[in-house]
């Protein structure tokens, strides 16, 4: 009985430890592009649950942001590899649909960042999800390039 109690205590303690302390910590500070070339505007922690089943779309985090004409924006994505072992896909939408995404389906290539030279001021949406809907731990950032080229 006493041994069983030990086992249960050990199991619970390990579970709490894994869930409580080994969890996804903020990655925002690690997801900032070169500050000599870019000015950080916004940073996002991306923490997503695992997809419940394969038929469902991967859990997605969405942020809305106003972008302005004449500004060159850079969107960067970062993944905490100790928690999430697949890439994160981040995309930019406007009210008409997809503007661009970090994942090129044709070449099956994931980009670490993309830049958007905005010519239409308005509300845009940034979305973040993890490939195959795995547990997501990462960060994203929105920055602007210092000189418009």
């Amino acid at each position: 009985m006493f041994k069983t109690y030990h086992k249960i205590l050990f199991f619970i303690a390990c579970l709490i430890t894994i869930d409580g302390h080994g969890q996804c910590s903020s990655m925002k500070a690690k997801c900032v592009p070169d500050v000599s070339k870019y000015t950080l505007l916004k940073a996002y922690d991306i923490q997503l649950p695992k997809r419940k089943n394969r038929k469902m779309r991967p859990p997605t985090k969405r942020y809305s942001v106003m972008l302005s004409k004449g500004t060159r924006y850079r969107v960067t994505g970062c993944v905490n590899r100790s928690v999430s072992f697949k890439p994160m896909v981040f995309s930019l939408y406007d009210n008409f649909g997809l503007v661009t995404t970090s994942y090129n389906q044709n070449s099956n290539k994931h980009y670490p960042a993309f830049e958007f030279i905005c010519n239409k001021s308005g509300i845009y949406y940034l979305t973040f999800y993890f490939v195959d809907g795995i547990i997501g731990c990462g960060a994203g950032s929105l920055a602007m390039r210092k000189t418009i080229k």
């Binding site: 041994k3 030990h6 086992k7 205590l9 050990f10 303690a13 390990c14 709490i16 430890t17 409580g20 925002k28 500070a29 900032v32 500050v35 000599s36 000015t39 950080l40 505007l41 916004k42 940073a43 922690d45 942020y63 809305s64 942001v65 106003m66 972008l67 302005s68 004409k69 004449g70 500004t71 850079r74 503007v99 661009t100 970090s102 090129n104 980009y111 670490p112 960042a113 993309f114 830049e115 958007f116 030279i117 905005c118 010519n119 239409k120 001021s121 308005g122 509300i123 602007m144 210092k146 418009i148």
Partner: protein, 302 residues
């Protein structure tokens, strides 16, 4: 088995260190909750923060002003001397946003001495609102000694405000979040309209006009707290501003986008275009209304 037992005891002991911090956090939270204004109607918090997040960083406006060739003008900014006189939650939160925008403007122009003064005011107000823990003033002071560190100072201040906003959201202090964002936004438009009076460039005028896009949503989140006198005053003032913006026309021209890869990064050139039109009279009306609203926001006797 003994090892398992000892590990369990250590883990349980370590975990038990948490609750005392948690208890302090929850005590603090309870106290703050009592002073938090509730919205008059049910409104999804997700939607509220979606609106808050879409307000652009004031750094964008400051950067545009600098690129226009306008000289640095500290006299436009809210006096740091007022910071101690903001003695209620409303003026503290609004002016935390105001000083935050001023700080961004100062940092974009690399004015180190002013940056330290404004950072100090930001920290004072943030501390009074119990969100002062996000600014590492000693690190910033150290960085300010070297003129090459302005990028780092900019980053640390942005990250500080960012973390502060996340914390407010976690604590459900939505009224403070709304006031901060309103203060910061009004100050940004105030600065750009003041600069445009002296250095009117098409880009600056266009940036003023495009604020029309945000105004409806901003009014929506302020209206949630309209049962409160202070919020009601801001709501009424922003309604006047909205009537000024009715004369701003925004046209959208559709085009194709071009994508290229540069150094392993995808670069998208937007060929869609927004064209903002506003005449001088509209610009003057907006400038005057913004000035009136801003005067009210930075007042200390409220």
């Amino acid at each position: 088995m003994k090892i398992q037992f000892y590990i369990s005891v250590i883990l349980v002991f370590l975990l038990s260190c948490g609750p005392s911090e948690d208890a302090k956090y929850f005590r603090n939270l309870l106290e703050i909750k009592e002073n938090t204004l509730k919205p008059s109607v049910d409104f999804p918090r997700e939607k509220l923060y979606e609106i808050i997040e879409q307000i652009p960083s004031p750094l964008e406006v400051s950067n545009l002003i600098k690129e226009s060739g306008a000289n640095y003008n500290e006299y436009m900014l809210n006096d740091v001397g007022y910071a101690d006189d903001y003695n209620n939650k409303y003026t503290q939160a609004v002016n935390l946003g105001v000083y935050g925008t001023d700080l961004g403007y100062i940092n974009i122009y690399s004015k180190y001495a002013a940056s330290m003064l404004y950072m100090s005011s930001v920290q004072d107000l943030a501390s009074q609102l119990r969100i002062g823990q996000f600014f590492d003033f000693s690190t910033i002071s150290r960085l300010a000694a070297n003129s090459e560190n302005i990028d780092s100072i900019l980053y640390i201040s942005t990250a500080g405000f960012d973390n502060m906003s996340s914390y407010l959201r976690k604590q459900e202090r939505d009224d403070v979040s709304v006031l901060m964002i309103v203060g910061g936004w009004i100050e940004a438009i105030y600065i750009i309209t003041q600069v445009t009076r002296r250095y009117p460039t098409p880009k600056l005028i266009e940036r003023i006009g495009e604020q029309k896009i945000l105004l409806d949503d901003l009014l929506l989140i302020i209206s949630l707290y309209q049962h409160d006198n202070y919020f009601n005053r801001i709501f009424n003032d922003l309604n006047i501003l909205q009537s000024n913006f009715e004369n701003v026309e925004i046209e959208y021209v559709v085009g194709e986008r071009e994508m290229i890869e540069v150094d392993g990064i995808l670069v998208v050139q937007d060929k869609n275009e927004s064209i903002v039109r506003l005449d001088d009279k509209t610009l003057n009306n907006i400038t005057q209304t913004i000035q009136q609203i801003r005067t009210f926001l930075v007042e200390t006797d409220v």
